[in-house]
Structures are given as C-alpha cells and as structure tokens.
Symmetry: D3
Subunit: 225 residues, 6 copies
C-alpha cells in the first residue's frame, strides 16, 4: 500500500521497439490477437503524432502532478510516460515546462488518462502526447502516488517496461516479454497485407480474396436484384 | 428477417447530386425544412473532407465488417457507403485496405456510425470519411447483415439511393425523390443569402434585414441603457 | 424576469485585455487562483484560434439565435460574444453570415455553449470560435432572451464586460475589475516560468527546482531499485 | 418531402404481440438474430415498466411536440407511440397531460429518443415510458413533422405497425411481417433455456452444457494451476 | 478576486417558497418562460426527492469541500445548499456526516454539480440531494472558495437567496425578486391545466383543445389514409 | 501472450473480507489513502446491492462471454467475478442463466465494465451486479481470453484474489496483501467518524471540529456581512 518510486526497470529490445513503432498501432494490435488497446477516448494532440518507447508508469491523484515530476528522475532516453489518475479528470496535468524537462531527459512522449495544456507549444515542439482532454486547468504538486508499478490506464493494464506504440489510431501496449513475437507476427501481417493491397487496387473484391462468399452463403445471406 | 444484398438500386440525377454537394450540408438541410441530418457525433476524419453521392446502405453487426466487403461488390462509381451497426461500437471497421478497394471501384466516400482506422493513410489518400470514432480496434468478417435495405443510421433514416452530402458541418441525407426540389430550394436560398451577405458586410444589422426588431418588441424584450 | 437588451456596458482597460491575451489561458487561469475556466468541452474550431476581448453576453433559447442578432446591435470593436442557451443543444446557432456581420462591427470572436456551422468558411475568414459542437442544424429567430445580463455559461459565471481569453487550451473569464491585478500576477508567473524553463532545459529536475523531494519524503513515498 | 399524417396502418396479430411482450426484450432480440434493439441510452422511467404494442411512429422537430398531439388522433387501443426528433434533445416533450390523453385513447406506452417530464405522476399512473432523458424543459407546439412514416429512432429503423417490446433491458423493434416467425423462434429459445436453467441450477457448467471446453482448446486457451 | 463568505443574504417570502415547491419544477419553469433549469444531468439520488428553499451558494475547488463546511456556518433553516466546482468532477464531496450537520442546522437539501456518497444513508435519512454523480471518492478540506456569491451551476446562474425547487424532473432556479410573480403565473397555469386535464381524460384531443389542427394546416401537413 | 485460465488463486482472510464489506466502499477507499475505486460509471443494478468477496478476474473480448463461463469453473463460494473487455461495449454479457450458474457455485456477485441483461430477474434473485450499462444485446461464446490474470478494469488495476467491495457508492479494490491493514485503518476511521457524528448532530460545525477556520484564514478567505 505504500507509495513507491521504482528506479530501475527492464526494457524491451531497442530494435523491437523501433520496429513496433514502424508497424503502427492497428497492425500491432492485430498481431497481439486484437488486445492491448487503450480506450478510443485517448487521442493525439496533433496530426502526425507517433511514438514507440518503454513505459515508465505513473500513478497520480486526480489534479496533482507530483509523481510526473518524480518519474522524470528515473527515465532513460526513449521512454514514454504513461500516466493514470485515481479519479476521472480533465485537468491539464502536463504542459510546456514539463515537456521541456522531458526533452532534456530524452523522454519520447506522453500517454495520459487526463488532460494536458499548452498544446500549441507542445505541437511546435513536436512533443507527442495522447490524452483524454485538452484543458488549461492547473494542478497541485502535493499528493503521493507511485512510479514504475503496474497500473490500469484507460482500460488497459500497463507494466513498467512494456512497449507503448501511439499513432493517429490510438495507443497500444505490448507486454515487454512479447515484443519479439509481436514483431514477428506484425511483419507477417504486413507482408500479407502488401499482397492483398495490390489485389484490391487491381479491383479484386475482398469477398473473393478472403473467401467471404462462402461465409455469406453459410449464414444464409440472400443476393437479390 | 432474412439478411439480404440488393444488387440494383435507383439513383438520383447525377447533376442534382453534384449540385447538392456544391451547396453543402447546412444549405441542403435548410432547404429540406431542417431535416435529414445525421447526429453531430458523426465527424469528418480530416479538415476539408467533402462528398456527395448515392447511398449504398450497409447494416453490420457491431465489430464485424463482412457486409462492407459485400457492399463493394454492388457499388457504382460515385456511390457513398453508409454503414450502421447493431450496437454502439468504436471499433475500426474500415481502414486503408478497404479504402483501396473502394477507390478501385469508384466509391466516393464513407459514412459510418462506428470507428475507422488508418486515418493517417486515409488522409494522404484523400478518401473522405465521416465516423463516430477513430480507433485501431479490429473486426471479424463473420456475421451476416444486409446491403441496400433501408437503415437507421446515427438518428437518420437512409434508403438505398438517397443522396448523401458530407462536409465540415456533418452529413445530410436527401431522399432520392426529393433531390430535384431540394436543389431548387437550395439554389434559391443561396441566392437570397448572397444578397444578405452583401448587406451584412456593409454593416446592416440582421435585426433590420430580417425584421427582427418587431419580433423583439412583440415578445416584450426591453432595451435599456 | 423580463428579457432585456442592455446597450452600454463597462469594459476593462484595453492594454490589460491585450496583455491577458498574450499571456494565454493557462497562465491567466493560474494567476486567478485556478478559477474562471469554461468547461473543457468548449473547444476552438481551428488550430491557432486566439482571442481576448470584452464579453457581450447573450442568453438564447436552445435552437434560436434571435438574441445573437440583437447582440450585434450593441457590440463595440474588440468585443467577444459569449452565448449560453436555456437547454443543452448542438444546433449550429452561428455561421458564416453572422460572422460577416460580426466582422463588419468589429467583433473579435465568439464563445458559445452550443453548436456552430460553416466552420470551413469561418476558418478561411480566420474568425475564432469556441463551441461545444460543430453541426449544420439550423435555428429559428423567434424566442426572446437577454443581452448583457450576467449568465452562467459552460460552468462559469460571465458578467458583461468581463475579459474573455481563448486559445488552444480553452476559455477563461476574468472579472472586469480584476483585469489589472490578474495582469500583474500573470506577468510575475511568466517571469518565474522563464527562469524555471531555462533550468529545466538544462536538465535540472522539477523535484529539485520546486523542492518536491521533501514533499515525497513527508508523504512517505519510498524510493526503491 | 411534405410532412404527412397517415391515419391507417397495418398491425401485427394481437396474439403475437402479447406473446412477444411475455417473452421479453432479450429473448425477442436473440430470436431475431441479435438485431432490432434501440440504443442502450433509451431507459425505462420506473422499475417494472413493460410494454408490447404496435408502433405509431412520430417524427418531431427537437423541442416541439406538435406531432405527438397529432399522433393521438390516429392511435388505436394497444398502440405504442415511438417518437424521434430532428436533433438530439433532452427536452421534456411528454408529460402527465399527454399521458392522460394517451390513456383515454388506449395508448399502451411511449418510446421517445428525447426527454420526458412529470415522471413521478407517470409512475403513479403506471404509464410506461422509455426515454433518453428525464427533464422538466418545455416544448413548443408549432413545427411540422410526420406520423406513421418510417423513422430512424435511437439507432433502429421503425416502420408504422412494427411490434415494439420494452422492459428493463431496453426496447426492441420487430418488423410487422416477422412477428409470427419471431414468436416461434422465441418460444423455442425459451424452451431450450428452461432446460439449460435446470442444469445450471444443478451445478453443471456452461462449459459442459454448451460444449465450450472444445472452443477453449481450439483457441489455444491454456489451463494452469 | 478575494474568496469571500457572505453571512447575510436576502430570502424570498416563505409562503412563496412553499407554493413554488408545491407547483413543482416543470410548472415553475414554464411559468418563468421556459428558463431557469439546471442541466438534465443533475438528478435526484432517490425517487420522491422534493425540495424548495433559499439558495446558499457555494463555490468549491474540484475535489475539495472546505467551503461546504463554511456554508453550514451561515445557513438558516429551510435553506438549500447549491454547490458548483472549478472543474468537472465526480468526487463524492458530500456524504452522511455533512448531511447530519445540515440536518442539525435545518438545511432542507443539496444541489451539487459534482458527486455525492453515502447515498444509502442519505436515502434512509430522507435528505434530498440532486447531483451529477454518485461516487465514493473522497475530498480534501484545503482549498479556498466562496459562499453566497453569484455562481454558474450546471448551466444556470444562481444568486444567493434565489428560490431552488427540485423534484423528479430536475432543478429550477427562481430569481428571488421574481418569486411572487412566478407563483401567480404558476397558479394560473395549474388552473388551466386542471381544466385541460379533465377534457383530455374525457377523450378530447389536444389537437382540438389547443387549436392545433389549424397549425398543422398552416404548416402544410397532409392527412392521408 | 497466450490466453490462460488460472485455477488456483490466493484469497484474503475471510474475516477481513467480511469486515471490509461492513465498512463499505467510501470508508475502505479512504482507509487506502483515497485509492482503489473503479470509475463512477460502474453502477449497481438495484438499490441496496452490497457485496464483498475475492476477485476472480475475467478478460473477455467485447461482445463475447466465453471466458465468464470458463471463470465459473474455477470459482469458490464467496468469490466475485470482475470482468473487463478488450473494447468499450454496452452488450449484455451476463444475464439470468449465468446468474443461476453463479448461484449454484456460490459466486457472491459480479462487477463488469460492460452491460448486463435480465436485470428484473437478477433483482428478484438478489444477485448483486455493478455494470456500465443495462442492455439486452446478446453475445457470442467464441473468442479466447483469460481468467485469473491481472486486469485493468474501469480505471483500476485488479489482481486475482484482491478484495472487491461494492455498494451504492461504487466499487473499490483492496490488494489482497493490504486487507488486514486496511481493516485496521477503516475501523479507526469509523470510530473517529462516530464521535464526529455525535458532535455534528449536536450542532457543532465542521469548521470547529476539523479546525477549518484556521485553514480559511490562512488561505485569505474573507468573512463579510
């Protein structure tokens, strides 16, 4: 029950992290058997935001960002902060000053189940953030919480060191130990999709490529003119 | 009760469809007596998205896009897919591969009361989509539904062949048989607005142009200093 | 109880208004002791929208914009319309024609706890709007209300002549009589933040700059490896 | 496009309607292949509310109940009013006086994708209502609409004369022509469930009754201690 | 800008308050020209909750109930606490202990644009509460705010001493100075409704009682068989 | 990554579980330092619902309840099922038949971040459920997931064997190892509250009991008449 800051965490292989980021959220989520997504309410603050990195988890009280400051003391370059709160809140728990601090320590981005502010400045900085809200409301720096413990964040379970991938389609969490197999499955999926893409571009129907005419028949769907 | 795919539908006059698209959603909706709009939660995935075309309606189970594949087998160039689901869902039922297939068959755009994914790619393609959510979550291709039957979609009633107009202000449905009269009414409204616009730009007040001072007086509104 | 249009209102000092706009919403809100924000659901219709001006308050029936027309009769250049409604509504109560009228009379922007339409045109015009919704639905011009009376708008209390500041982070209301002290407090905060920013950019931790290590210790937060 | 009140509609067989009401919403929806439900936001105003009857459809402007008054002129005893609006609204479009009028004409209940008021009185009367909201806000009686035309209501398509079934689990729409087959399928389902219920009460597992152990194995689910 | 507790407020006539409570929220709101309602999200915590009293307004920081404690120091028997917060929050800012304190000082009820807890106990006590949420989350007692200043609460403007009426249909605010005229208008409305009710019970149609057949004709609504 | 059903879990001391249930959600949450609550959207399906038991965690695909059936194979009397899904969903994943099965195996209740159905029957049975929605929509029994692995559920982290407490104020999760200390802290809090309750009933103010007059002064709150 005691609030705790864990300094050292295990991280996934750097090449796996990079490759998962290249594959993108939808592909990675499919490669994991359609699991691992944060809720759709978690949205990027600017178009084109992309990130892949190791989760440094942060558990805050709603409206208090003390533990985000603490987390920056234990990050390594390339990490992604993943912040949850004890209660739903739209408060702007992170802004331009914290982003400058993150940049100085190599933090690659932020995922937060709450609000952020200074989004115009964050966009100019190119610091990628996924949040539930954008709002100016300020926060205190007074209430204890934990860093680098397992958290529930926006419907997903996140362990420290899990790989976080974010893009226009949302955010997905890859358990650290699964990074390698997921890269393999994602690569296979992309190769398969490349072949399908060419056939679809050529005008072939998904009905034929995926064998769906049989599915329609088996389900009793009727074709009429 | 039997799920059905209807191959042939009647469409509105092509010139009417084009003109409705030029008039835009707000004008068309006004010309229809302020009816026909889909709910405001249905939003375009990129700024500048515009479409006008004939509705090919699709009724899917939530989280299953089998019937979207079926619909592409019956579209004609210029059609707009209009997809509803059996239950509220944010799943990404449509993405880049389906958009390539749509492009190959001339589909002009998509309106869906659910989620879409690959929105970065769809934006680069310039494929216009209006949806309730953007999310990476994948779907099955297994559950029967219907194509080109009347559907309820985001608060509106859509028949196959109705004219769908979408822009930054949302999506409006024009019953096929009304396309001509609505074009006429919309043209009249635009001409009237052009005259009003010049007067407003010159500093005249809406109070005077629309005769609203009498309305205020009749309602007992008091002017004080 | 009688609906009323008040022609003359007191406004804050023009230099204070300008400076509050430069400081931005987050800073002004902090300078006011973390008060004065409208709800986070009130969002700008285009990136980069910014405004600062004197509130001309408008109380409308839901789905009726008669009183917005009345308000334009009493504005002065630089004012910001602040519109509330008697019931929650997404209707597009303001569009391009009203924006032209606003421009002709020098209105600097609009804040509305309802919907707006013609957002593509408003964006081209560069007319800044903060609203709860974007939707084409039209409105009547028939139901009485008031202009320049105190209103409750999106969770905040707004008096005519209060200073309205809007940017990417939302909208804040500064009571007219507080404009001067808030400018002073905001300037001090910005100076303090400038110094902190340099230290953070240099790699110092917020934990050290703000003395938060003591807070963590006092709260019993444990550091572990 | 012209607003219309249709006086005469076809209705389903009275015994089918009664039996569908006895089966309840969940069973009927399953018997229809998991289709026909209104959105989950449509809730009964008191515990124990139940209804089954023929839909008299009503299309209103948001905030205007003129067409509900018109609908009462064409109902027959046992009918259920199904009301949709042109825009999302929480206004209380129906209250105790209208309920008295409904009672006088034998209307069995109301389904409305908007608000209702006087819910304390409606509860005492035992008049069953399913609505999106409960709110006191009043409405006008001025804007045209239609009665007994097909409508989209809360995500479902409703034709006049369709069978409406409502209970604690929501509202389902049975197309008029399907009432008989749905009764048959629902009866079969209830008989099957009665047998399953006894086995479950006796402690047998769903895993065994439904053969789900094979499903788990086929999907690669692992049992561990 | 300085947070303030105002000890003395003016209250409306006690008989007017009582009568407004008897008339109920819908009638009072209509008698005020369809104004004064709080948003529909503000709901009673138990069926049958009713209240009428003078508003003691409370402005709190989200998640902090210090000022509710302060407010109880200035209430008089029959008052109703009306609480708003600086940011949206579901925290349970009020529970059984505060209700005991309210009871000891004669507070008649609570309206709060936030959460409450101990609702089982509050129900047993019969202490009426209207809130946005029910949730156990606790609050601090540390952040300044004001008592008995004008506030914006759930979309409405509330001045100290305004009459608050709450029932199953929501909450309405009657400006103190309007209490008398609103009672008169409400009484007239109830008398009119009593006559209408009898006619409706006798089977007369609203179409005939309100003269709506002419409205339908004037609007071009067509009757068909 | 492989879906797994864990048969054996550790549970907290039975007396601790019972006592936590007696203390109730608000007290337990406070005793844990204001942590552990599920989101406020998770609500009981009938008034008076209460539960305390050991969590058997279930991770399902949205719209598929295969793993709930699997979970009943590993429960022990007194356990509480805690179900999360891979995507937001209102589907009725649990109903009367599953409740009969739960009863037969001694399951004390259900917490589910999705929908339930047959709520009238569940209420008659007295089977307590906390859910995000009540809706008739049916589910498949086909998609793999896990039982008794850590899950993120409605904003909280739940490990198998954690103590789940639910009542009218929501649901709280007590980590298994903390059950004893939390009982102690909760008992102390209840004793303190009993003394405070008597003083409040006697008319003493919270301002005096909690020493809040000093807080108000320190924060610069002004008292005026």
């Amino acid at each position: 029950m005691r609030p705790t800051i864990v300094r050292s965490i295990l991280r996934a292989d750097a090449e796996h992290i990079t490759r998962l980021g290249e594959c993108g959220v939808a592909t990675v989520h499919e490669a994991m058997g359609r699991t691992g997504l944060l809720e759709p309410a978690i949205r990027p603050i600017f178009p084109g935001a992309r990130v892949a990195g190791s989760a440094v988890t942060v558990s805050c009280a709603a409206g208090d960002n003390l533990m985000i400051h603490a987390a920056i003391a234990v990050v390594r370059p390339g990490d992604v902060l993943v912040v949850t709160t004890s209660a739903p809140s739209s408060d702007g728990m992170f802004g331009e000053l914290l982003a400058e601090s993150c940049r100085a320590h190599g933090v690659a981005g932020l995922v937060i189940d709450a609000g952020v502010r200074d989004t115009a400045e964050l966009t100019v900085m190119g610091f990628p953030v996924w949040s539930r809200a954008v709002w100016a409301h300020g926060t205190t720096k007074a209430i204890p919480g934990s860093v680098n413990v397992p958290i529930g964040c926006a419907g997903a379970l996140v362990h420290p060191g899990d790989v976080i991938v974010g893009d226009a389609d949302g955010v997905v969490v890859v358990p650290r130990a699964d990074a390698g197999p997921v890269v393999t499955a994602a690569n296979e999926r992309l190769a398969r999709e490349a072949r399908t893409r060419e056939r679809l571009k050529g005008g072939e129907l998904g009905l034929d490529i995926y064998g769906l005419r049989d599915v329609l028949n088996a389900q009793g769907v009727e074709w009429v003119d």
